[in-house]
């Protein structure tokens, strides 16, 4: 009998074009708080999804209390004593707190097919007391604050200890992203208090939080576990270096090809407002310039990008392209003005996965292949083949559904479809998310080349390093407002710390 509660042995998982997890091993001991850190795409989420049964590993094993287990659903994970508090909360807002805590586990309260609410109330109070939460179990979840709901989730996870008679393993996935400082402190206090009766896996990319809360920490990078440290023997600097991993080579982001922005203002954003999302956004983007927006989740940077792309409509403000005012809230107006939008949700908003390459490329502007009022399928096919050639898209053929391409190649199709519209401004929302390193470098190369041709970019990068490496100008956003604007010339890039200051 080892003294591990949870053990992951040599687990690998691949998706088309990406090895998401590569031979990863780790363990969690009883009454231990273990941290997982890594950049986006490092493999943390994939590992968590394997633990709660959403994915099945290609290779390797998961052991719980020394027994190999096959977890196929959240329910099975819970039967093994493993529960997750999700980043996007999973409580059902239209149900009460008690119903949420015991959702799918109501048997214990049922007599003759009817639920004994009084008993469920009592039991719910007992679970809530574990996280020192004193609320009415009959209150509706939708009436609670985000932080309180998170506590309810934690209580729900802790209810496993009664149901399974095991010490629970509770996974907290980025729990602090939208919490205020005081709420964060409270969460940490409760988590520490739970350590006596549970093991905690804490996932975050805030290194200071990891250092504050955990006993041990694993560092992930590009699908591999690159380091394991006792928290007391490491520091922010070391973790960061391990996480980013690569010596930031001067040329990874093709900084040598970064050009001076032109004089001409291509995109001008004035006093853009959307209550609850962003406020008083002002900036201008010049010809050939790359502006990177840095900010945490909830900073409003995604919403600003969606507004410029015409997908969302702001309450007030103006956007001008080459001096002409844009009709807001209309993707087609944005496209006609020369804006191309590469959305974060590539499979949902970027591409119609169940169409082949040609129809995807011509979708924003079909006039390229219209001949006397009808679609010329041959011309469309030739157009697709030209883009396959030019962008080096790896595909079984022009007729293949985009569904069957790897992430990197799908992204090239998205870029192609906008380039085919004679785009002047590219709005890129996480353009390198979920694509492998080689494909990332191709995207960087392409961005530089297009900037040289005069296309301007508004960029939300996948990582801070990417933001700094690619941008001419970095704008930081916090709580919907622009906090800083800093130059980022190739020979004098700001340090991550400078940028983070504007984000926090």
């Amino acid at each position: 009998m080892s003294d591990y509660l949870l053990e992951v042995r040599n687990v690998s998982k691949s998706f088309p074009g990406v090895k998401a997890l590569d031979d990863v091993s780790l363990f969690v001991k009883p009454n231990e708080i273990v941290g997982l850190v890594g950049e986006n795409g490092a493999g943390k989420s994939t590992l968590l999804k394997i633990l709660i049964g959403a994915y099945h590993p290609d290779e390797g094993q998961v052991l719980i209390r020394d027994k190999p287990v096959e977890i196929r659903s959240v329910k099975e994970a819970e039967e093994h004593g493993l529960a997750m508090v999700f980043q996007e909360q999973s409580l059902l807002p239209n149900l009460t707190v008690r119903e949420n805590i015991f959702l799918a586990n109501e048997e214990q309260f049922i007599r003759y097919g009817v639920i004994n609410w009084k008993k469920m109330d009592q039991e719910a109070r007992r679970q809530l007391a574990k996280v020192e939460l004193d609320i009415d179990p009959a209150s509706y979840t939708s009436d609670l604050t985000f932080a309180t709901r998170q506590m309810v989730e934690l209580a729900r996870a802790m209810s496993l200890e009664d149901r399974t008679q095991y010490q629970p393993i509770v996974i907290l996935d980025e729990p602090t992203t939208v919490l205020e400082k005081a709420e964060k402190e409270l969460l940490f206090e409760r988590v520490r208090a739970l350590k006596d009766r549970a093991s905690i896996v804490f996932v975050s990319h805030h290194l200071d939080e990891i250092l504050e809360l955990t006993d041990r920490v694993y560092v992930f990078k590009d699908g591999r576990k690159v380091a394991e440290r006792a928290t007391s023997e490491t520091n922010v600097g070391e973790l960061h270096r391990l996480m980013v991993g690569r010596e930031i080579k001067g040329e990874y982001y093709r900084q040598g090809k970064q050009i001076e922005a032109g004089e001409e203002i291509v995109l001008q954003v004035k006093n853009l407002n959307q209550s609850g999302k962003f406020k008083d956004i002002n900036f201008e983007l010049h010809k050939g310039e790359i502006i990177g927006i840095a900010g945490v989740l909830g900073s409003g940077r995604e919403e600003v990008c969606r507004t410029i792309a015409g997908v969302d409509k702001p309450e007030s403000g103006t956007i001008q392209i080459n001096g002409t005012t844009l009709h807001l809230g209309s993707p087609s107006a944005a496209i006609n003005a020369g804006i191309g939008y590469v959305p974060q949700d590539r499979g949902g908003e970027g591409l119609v996965l169940y169409l082949s390459l040609g129809p995807n490329i011509t979708l924003p502007d079909m006039s390229q292949v219209m001949r006397s009022g009808l679609v010329n399928l041959k011309a469309e096919r030739q157009l697709a083949e030209r883009w396959i050639d030019r962008m080096k898209i790896k595909t079984p053929g022009a007729d293949a559904l985009c569904l069957n391409l790897s992430g990197g190649n799908q992204q090239k199709v998205v870029l192609s479809k906008w380039l085919a519209t004679k785009v002047k401004v590219f709005v890129l929302d996480h353009p390198t998310r979920g694509i492998d390193v080689g494909a990332k470098e191709e995207v960087y190369e392409l961005i530089r080349e297009l900037a040289k041709q005069g296309i301007a970019f508004l960029l939300i990068a996948d990582t801070l390093e990417e933001t700094i490496g690619l941008s001419n100008i970095i704008i930081t956003m916090k709580d919907g407002e622009i906090t800083r604007r800093m130059e980022s010339p190739p020979d004098n890039k700001p340090s991550p710390v400078d940028v983070i200051e504007g984000m926090m």
Partner: protein, 322 residues
């Protein structure tokens, strides 16, 4: 192994959606021609095609709505209303009555599309409401009594009921509608956008396609072709009645689905619906031959729709089925 996994395995092993309709048709035709050697005679085939013309026209319209991933349940009452409009107006307006009946279909389709897209009501509910609306209005307007085209006016129906080169005119008419809808589907923006919306509405919207407009247009086309079906029926039956298109809804959806157009949208097309019509007509003949009660045939089509969807639906695209 659960039924579901088994069905999914069958699905994956071949591209069933692509080959099943035509295979089914061929198998049915072989069985039929063994059972009745006269089945494959040109005269029988042309007879079959003439009989299936109305169903084809209606199914072609419904195809576009199903390609969107939506559904229009109001097509049978819209067709019935069109028979009433045509039959009532023929004495006064002559040929123009048919045009007015078609315009009614344009309006009915637009109304369903408008309610669906602008009021953001699921097409299932919007068209269910429209089904009730037109059924009710149809009975009131016709006073629940069949209206007949008098012998003075019967010549006005000859363009449908007559024959040219020995073939029923209605066969040519259906062929023209098939040709036009094929062009619409494959060679126009409308057809492309309808498929794109069905396959990925969000990405289509981000690409600047005015989703609501094209969805409404698909409903307009569907309503128009439903009314055209009514026009053909009124001419063939020399009259109009609120019950004239009874049973058409189930069959029109069956021909689209059996042809292999995915109920989830994006995949399929009018040629598949043509195959679907041939399957249904062959089945009709077959069921009559072995003496299945005509009233029970509805039940058979109900079962067939479910079976066809079970075999062809792509469950990896739909995680929650509502």
């Amino acid at each position: 192994m659960s039924v579901l996994t088994r069905i999914n395995n069958v699905r994956k092993s071949t591209n069933l959606v692509d080959i099943m309709p035509i295979t089914t048709l061929i198998v049915l035709i072989i069985i039929m021609s063994i059972g009745s050697p006269r089945f494959l005679l040109p005269a029988s085939i042309l007879g079959l095609l003439a009989q299936s013309a109305t169903l084809l026209v209606m199914g072609l319209g419904e195809t576009f709505v199903i390609l969107l991933g939506s559904i229009d349940l109001s097509i049978a009452p819209v067709a019935a209303m069109a028979t009433i409009v045509a039959a009532m107006l023929i004495p006064k307006f002559g040929y123009l009555a048919f045009v007015i009946a078609l315009l009614f279909g344009v309006f009915a389709g637009w109304l369903t599309g408008f309610v669906h897209t602008r009021a953001k009501i699921p097409s299932f509910i919007a068209s269910l409401g429209a089904m009730g609306l037109w059924t009710g209005i149809g009975f009131v307007v016709s006073q629940a009594t069949p209206i007949t085209v008098t012998s003075d006016d019967i010549f006005l129906t000859k363009w449908v009921t007559g024959t040219t080169f020995g073939v029923d005119n209605v066969v040519y008419i259906a062929a023209v509608v098939l040709f036009i809808t094929f062009i619409l589907e494959k060679y126009t923006r409308f057809g492309r956008y309808v498929k794109a919306i069905g396959a990925g509405e969000k990405a289509t919207r981000v690409s600047g396609v005015p989703i609501e407009r094209y969805k409404t247009l698909a409903f307009v086309l569907c309503g128009t072709l439903a009314a055209f079906t009514g026009v053909l029926l009124s001419a063939r039956m020399a009259g109009g009645s609120a019950r004239m298109a009874d049973g058409f809804l189930m069959k029109a959806i069956a021909v689209v689905i059996l042809g292999g157009t995915a109920i989830s949208g994006g995949i399929g097309g009018v040629l598949r619906t043509f195959i679907g019509v041939l399957i249904v007509m062959t089945l009709d003949v077959g069921m009559n031959m072995i003496g299945i009660n005509p009233w029970f045939q509805q039940a058979v089509y109900g079962g067939i729709i479910i079976l066809a969807v079970a075999l062809t639906i792509d469950r990896s695209r739909i995680t929650i089925i509502k």
